[in-house]
Symmetry: C2
Subunit: 355 residues, 2 copies
């Protein structure tokens, strides 16, 4: 049965939020977990959960609730890791120097088979580097990529690469398309996912050299994948394209800019309702609806992004991950293992090359 | 006195919306205009405005109103242009082939001095190409860039390049910083504008080769400009950086993705309020407040983006420009001329080089 290794020490609210989320996930999805981190801290946290339970503060759709979960009744393994990689550290150096860090040992658990997937909310760079070096790459894949799911006006949309690579080649973009499409089909259940290249215009010759070359590669393999051409930024959320392929630099900037823009919008809405007495009352009435919207676009719902292209499953979570986000990340990891996303990527990659 | 040439035929709602906006701008800012396009259509539109006035449908902050403006009492020059460049045409080719197109002749009006600036809402590529070839570049500037103003949680923020160049060099990014900073200081009135490079992380060595090299160039000239380092996408709207420098590909994708994301948010909010009878009532009460937010982030408020780096002033407007947007674009153009933004760019560029 699938076991998920969780880096208990990574994330802004670690270890508390991470362990709560892991326990919640183990309970809700009935999945064994392996908590990797400082043993004494993990034990203390599990004891606290046993006594106090997990308090969920609600998110606009889910109501606040107190959950009584007994960790002793769950299949939880603890693996001691004496070190922790901090956010500021250079990833490559850190994973070589700190061989006993929680993220390195969590990945090692997958490499040696005691777990099937890793969930990590600490340094994204360290999670990527340790996955790349600890697990190796899938055949044919040059570089792993971050595969993110976003809400759209229709079905969820996949963006790949969300920031694993600052410099990409057309071949890499093509491979991202293969991986994103496999994810969309097998994890999100979208039949024959439409693949598009994120670009500054729809026409064929648009954009920089990288996307132009990637376009031609996709076009050549059109029989094997559902390539629909270039996608402009404003179309991302229309839901007319299922897999949006981009360079990690562009993807990361776009995703973070959206995050910034939506924070500003909610900030402006809040301020607007503060204008006068009547607006305050209307604001109070509207609040539950606004909270529902916020919950819908909240990263917590999607749990985490898959690092695709490595021989193993690594789910990369937001640094600010709450227990609810980690619980959902456990679901993402479990899904990816059970639906054999890596095997499917390998198969699809082989097919797409045999023209 | 400043005269503004307006491409009367460019834009989704041309010539009606464009001519209405130009007349409105001429009236409100007391500025002479030169309408460039098919003479008969321009005359017909001016006659209609004389009889019917301009009907403004309101935008959440400004109330709907009917304006009685007599074009005969304004300083309006008409220049006939027999051709129009369509949205789909390849810009370089189109401006060479259609020498009598409205955009080419509007730029020519500036080149020969009958007007001081151009306002254009048609094909962005054609406006850029005709400005570049018709006006030439400022000394020291390799490529013009699109300079956009966005709202933030504090003061307005400048993004440059918003999409004029799909491929950039570090030198170009440095020049964009100089131009953006001049704009921020002289047009937006921001003292000693903080310049940042849009990147995937804050630390010095982050990002692709382009932004790393640009970072080093800015750092070397630190005495002459207020360089504050890398800016992540999520910080764009915090208002802690005044001029955000990026490659046109990245800038265009980020800006259009934000446009898409905010459209989706408003769509979701609208839908959320449709849930049931009570939510519908609350939605109706909240509507005027939401409209105010929408007006604040609406591109119409900012009128248009300046194409900086050419020897002349070109304001590039959204294809969907309404009369209100064009009216504001007239203001942007007038400001840029009167505040001598190009002369200031030249001066600043000279200073920043003399280390």
């Amino acid at each position: 049965m699938t076991r998920i290794a969780v880096d208990a020490m990574g994330g802004d609210y670690a270890p508390k939020a991470i362990i709560e989320g892991a326990v919640w996930g183990a309970y809700e999805y009935n999945v064994p977990i392996e908590l990797v981190g400082k043993e004494d801290k993990i034990h203390a946290e599990l004891d606290r959960i046993k006594q106090e339970g997990i308090l969920y503060s609600g998110n606009g759709i889910l109501k606040p609730k107190k959950m009584k979960i007994d960790p002793d009744k769950l299949d939880i393994k603890i693996t001691h890791a004496s070190e922790t990689i901090e956010m500021g550290e250079a990833p490559g150096q850190a994973i070589r120097k700190k061989k006993n860090s929680s993220i390195v040992l969590a990945v090692a658990a997958v490499a040696k088979g005691s777990s099937d997937a890793v969930v990590a909310a600490g340094s994204t760079g360290a999670a990527m580097a340790s996955s790349l070096f600890g697990l190796g790459r899938l055949p044919g894949i040059e570089r792993p990529a971050i595969c993110l799911t976003l809400p759209s006006m229709k079905k969820p949309v996949v963006i790949i690469d969300g920031g694993a690579n600052a410099n990409s080649t057309p071949e890499m973009l093509f491979q991202f398309g293969i991986m994103g499409s496999t994810f969309s089909k097998n994890i999100l259940g979208i039949e024959n996912p439409r693949i598009g290249v994120l670009n500054i215009g729809e026409e064929r010759g648009k954009g920089n050299e990288l996307v132009q070359a990637a376009y031609r590669m996709f076009e050549q393999k059109k029989e094997h994948l559902n390539f629909i051409g270039n996608i402009e930024g404003k179309e991302v959320f229309l839901g007319n394209c299922d897999v949006i392929v981009c360079d990690g630099f562009v993807g990361n900037v776009a995703l973070k800019t959206i995050e910034g823009a939506s924070s500003m919008l909610f900030f402006m809405i809040k301020n607007q309702f503060k204008e006068n007495f009547i607006s305050k009352i209307i604001g109070l009435l509207a609040k539950p609806f606004m909270k529902k919207i916020y919950a819908k676009i909240n990263y917590e719902e999607f749990g985490g992004a898959l690092l695709l292209g490595v021989k193993g499953i690594t789910v990369i979570c937001h640094g600010r991950s709450t227990p609810y986000a980690i619980k959902n990340a456990i679901r993402v990891a479990k899904d990816a293992v059970e639906k054999e996303v890596n095997k499917k990527i390998e198969e699809f990659y082989q097919t797409s090359l045999n023209v």
